[in-house]
Structures are given as structure tokens and as C-alpha cells.
Amino acid sequence: MTDLLTVRGLRGGYAGTTVLDGVDFTVPAGTLVALLGRNGAGKTTFVHAVMGMLKPYAGSIRIGGDELAGAPAHIVARNGVAIVPQGRRVFAPLTVEENLRIAARRPAGAQAPNAWTATRIYELMPRLAERRTHRGDQLSGGEQQMLAIGRALLQNPRLLLLDEPSDGLAPTVVDQVAELLETLRGEGITAVLVEQDLHLAFRLADEVAVMQKGRIVHRGTTADFRRDRGRAHTLLGVG
């Protein structure tokens, strides 16, 4: 299958420091790739660089053939990339409905019968429909996460970047988020999932990549990664 996202030699960081030290990374269309690694490995920096929220020092980021390294976030978004950021970052002063409405974007190219609409989001996440007039800062953590995912889906992205969707959520809520993401996976989304929760990552991902000190040090199928406990331990410090 062709790669939707192809990253080559990506270097970047903040204020002159180097966090990403030559990242090579691909995401085949229709695949969910988990990006694992210890704290400070550069996962969030990487996701921000792909989204255009951080300007890389060097390297190439191609999405469906278009070179987007260094392009501002709104251009990257219009090229079909959406992010569910760490910490969710729903707009606190906006209602659920307003949060969704300002994100709505028709899919690029020809008309898609399965395009995401607010109605479909509310069907998929009835809790959001119930809370549609509530402000972002009146939602629970789980509801905010649902909203952040709904907001990203409404952009009808070709590539979805999920940055720690389980972070700070109670285990039962993580289950709900996992079920939602499984549903999306069933629809064939292409996504990068940054995740500390290995159970969640293994449950959702087709493939696993491990980042260490700003480089990808392992890449393989999820099944293969789970078989080799020694390697998982060495790379992630967990058994």
C-alpha cells in the first residue's frame, strides 16, 4: 500500500535545541501506527512538526505527495491533516456545537459519501449531543476528549494525529475512547497514535514505531513487537 505520510530526515526542536534528530517515518494509507517512546523522546514534538505547529530545521514531510515541511499549520490542515492534541485543547469559551462548527471542513477532492458531519459526530458520540450547548470548560475530561476527536474528524482529514488520547482519563473513560477509536479504525482511517498506555496502543495499532532521543529506533507490526518482551523492555522500560 502507498504511504500517505512520508517523513525523511526530520530535524527540529525549540529555540535552537535539537529534539528531533533525523526522524524517518512512514504511515501507509489505511494504517494506524502507534508511536511509542519514553517521556522526552520527542513524540509530541514530532506530531507538532508534522501538523505545522512547529517549524522544523530540516527534512521532508510529504503528505500524499505534497511537500509540507515548514508550511504553517493552517496550510497543513487544508492538505488533510488533523490533530487531537495532548491535553485535548478544546476551546474553553466555546460551546460543544461551536467547537465542532468552526472545525467543519468538506473532504478535499471529490464528494465522499461518508464525509463527517456534525450529525454523524453526534450519532457516534451521543454524550456530545446531550452537552451541545455546554461550554468547553464545563465538560469532563472524557467529554473533552470526545469533543477533541469529533473536532478533528469534522475536518475530514486524510491523516489523523492522536497525541496521548488516554492521558489524564479514568480507566473506564479510556475504554470509551478506545472503543471510539476502534470504530474509526474499522472505517479505515489513517492515523498516528502517540500513546503511553501500551494496552491501548496494542489494541488499536497495526504497526508500532519506537522513538528514542529524537530518532525512530524500531519499526514493525504490533504482533511482532508484543512477542519480543525483551525488546519492549529495553526500548520502553516496561515489561
Binding site: G52, P93, I102, R105
Partner: protein, 291 residues
């Protein structure tokens, strides 16, 4: 009692003007942390547009023309300031830059119009007075209060009820995230900067028959607008409205009750708010106080 009514009406008129001035300052500060120190100079440009076009009174049509001309001049200045400040990353540099623009504009106005105090007549059609609760009161000031009310409703509907308003509020709350939704926040910023400056310049025309035009007025107005923003809370439309109404009343009623302390009272009110609610009375949600 009737004297206080007059003071309160004066306070409302002043509050209306302050709301028009402080709104742009507050939203721009909320969106990009730029303290636009040229905002008072933009106001003064509006006041001198009024001096140039309607100094000796004249028809309502000429006055409306002055308002439109000031709005256009303000929008151009605001757009220019947005472009200038965007190119410079550091906040202190941005503040210095806008201060430089403020000084330059004020000096140019002083060269063009001289240093004397200009008074501006209200349009003849509304220059009279009416009796309010036994006191005569200028019709023009009542119209300024009406303008403030219409502006408050219009801005509320635009910012709280429209799609564009959602984008503006979201940009105040988390600008990089708005960009990540495919929205060019640079354009939002130029638009808000331009519209805010246009409103400040329009306020300069409307305040003309009350405050006139003279060198130094820009600094006084900027200071009052800053106090309004600090009291109301950054980046918030309701905060700017509340802050403007509070300062208008404190100033007018204070001047009537304890004239010798009137100017002090404004800063006492600000100090009190800062002590009790450091983020202001109605700050934009999601804008935490940064220590």
C-alpha cells in the same frame, strides 16, 4: 439627586466611548499578547479627522462622513500595526514598536494641526438640549449613550453568536489550535486589529464634541483604555463593556462628589480589582493568569 443623574449620564456617555476604544485593545492583547501602545494615537487621528472636517459644526451628513473617514483611517493604521507587530516575535519589542508609532503619529498630528486645543461642535441638528428629570442635558451625549448601547449589542451578537465570533473567541483562547483547524489566524488577527483600530478612531470623532482634540489626549485615552482592559479582563468583550461602564461612572460621579480625587479614584478602582480579582472582572475563559 438630579445632579447625580447628570453625572451618571455623563459617566454612561464616557463609558460608551471607552467601550469603543478599549474593545480593540483588549481583543488584540488577548489574541497575540500585543499591547498596542499606538491605540491612543489612532483615537487621536479620529479626533483630528473631526477637526479637519467638522470643526465649526455643520450638517449631520458631514459628521457621518467624518465618522466613515476616521473608520477607514483607523482600519488602515490597525492593519499596518498588525503587519508590523506580526513580523516581530518579542513582546517588549512589539510594545516599543507601537510606542514608536504612537509618538510619530502624535508628532505628525501636532505638526499638521498645531498644539492648541481644538473644540469640535456637535452637528447642528443634535446640538440642542433636552430636559431630563428637571435638568437640561445635551442631546448629543444621549446619542453617544445610544451609540454605545447599539455597539454593545452589535458586538455581542457578532462575537458571541456568529461563526466569525466563534473563531475570534477561539483565537483568543488558543491560537495555534485554531491554525491547526485550517483557519488562517494571521488574517483573523489583521481583521480584529483593523476593526478595533477603526472603532477607536470612530470614538475619536464621536468624542470630539465632548473632549475636543489636543496633543496629549492620546496618552490620557490610552491610559483610561488600559485601566478598562485591566479591570474588565483581557480578551473579553463583556469585560471591556463592564470595565468601561465602571470607569465611566467612577470618573463622572467621582468628579461630581470629590473633584480633587477624581483621577485618583480610577486607579484606586483598578488597584482594588487587581487585589481581589487579578485576572479582571470578566476575563475571557481559558485565559489563565500568567505569573
Amino acid at each position: 439627586m438630579a445632579t447625580y443623574l447628570v453625572s451618571m449620564l455623563n459617566g454612561l456617555a464616557m463609558g460608551s466611548l471607552l467601550f469603543a476604544i478599549a474593545l480593540g485593545l483588549s481583543l488584540v492583547f488577548g489574541m497575540m499578547d500585543v499591547l498596542n501602545l499606538a491605540h491612543g494615537a489612532v483615537y487621536l487621528v479620529g479626533a483630528y479627522v473631526a477637526v479637519a472636517l467638522v470643526a465649526d459644526g455643520g450638517g449631520l451628513a458631514v459628521f457621518v462622513l467624518a465618522v466613515l473617514a476616521a473608520a477607514a483611517a483607523g482600519a488602515v493604521l490597525g492593519g499596518g500595526l498588525a503587519a508590523l507587530t506580526r513580523a516581530i516575535p518579542h513582546h517588549l519589542d512589539q510594545a516599543l514598536l507601537t510606542l514608536g508609532v504612537a509618538l510619530t503619529v502624535a508628532e505628525l498630528l501636532s505638526v499638521a494641526f498645531g498644539n492648541e486645543v481644538h473644540s469640535i461642535a456637535a452637528p447642528a441638528a443634535v446640538a440642542g438640549s433636552v430636559t431630563v428629570a428637571g435638568e437640561t442635558y445635551p442631546v448629543y451625549r444621549l446619542l453617544v449613550i445610544g451609540f454605545g448601547m447599539v455597539l454593545a449589542v452589535a458586538v455581542y451578537v457578532l462575537v458571541e453568536r456568529s461563526q466569525l465570533g466563534s473563531v475570534i473567541r477561539a483565537t483568543v483562547a488558543d491560537r495555534p489550535m485554531v491554525s491547526a483547524l485550517g483557519i488562517n489566524t494571521g488574517r483573523v488577527l489583521v481583521g480584529v486589529f483593523g476593526a478595533g483600530a477603526a472603532l477607536a478612531a470612530v470614538a475619536g470623532v464621536l468624542a470630539g464634541p465632548i473632549l475636543g482634540a489636543q496633543p496629549g489626549l492620546d496618552e490620557r485615552v490610552l491610559l483610561l483604555a488600559l485601566v478598562v482592559v485591566v479591570i474588565g479582563g483581557l480578551g473579553s468583550v463583556r469585560g471591556a463593556l463592564l470595565g468601561a461602564l465602571v470607569i465611566g461612572q467612577v470618573q463622572a460621579v467621582g468628579a461630581a462628589l470629590v473633584p480633587e480625587y477624581a483621577s485618583f479614584l480610577i486607579f484606586a478602582a483598578m488597584a482594588l480589582v487587581l487585589l481581589l480579582r487579578p485576572a479582571g472582572l470578566l476575563p475571557a475563559a481559558g485565559t489563565a493568569v500568567r505569573v
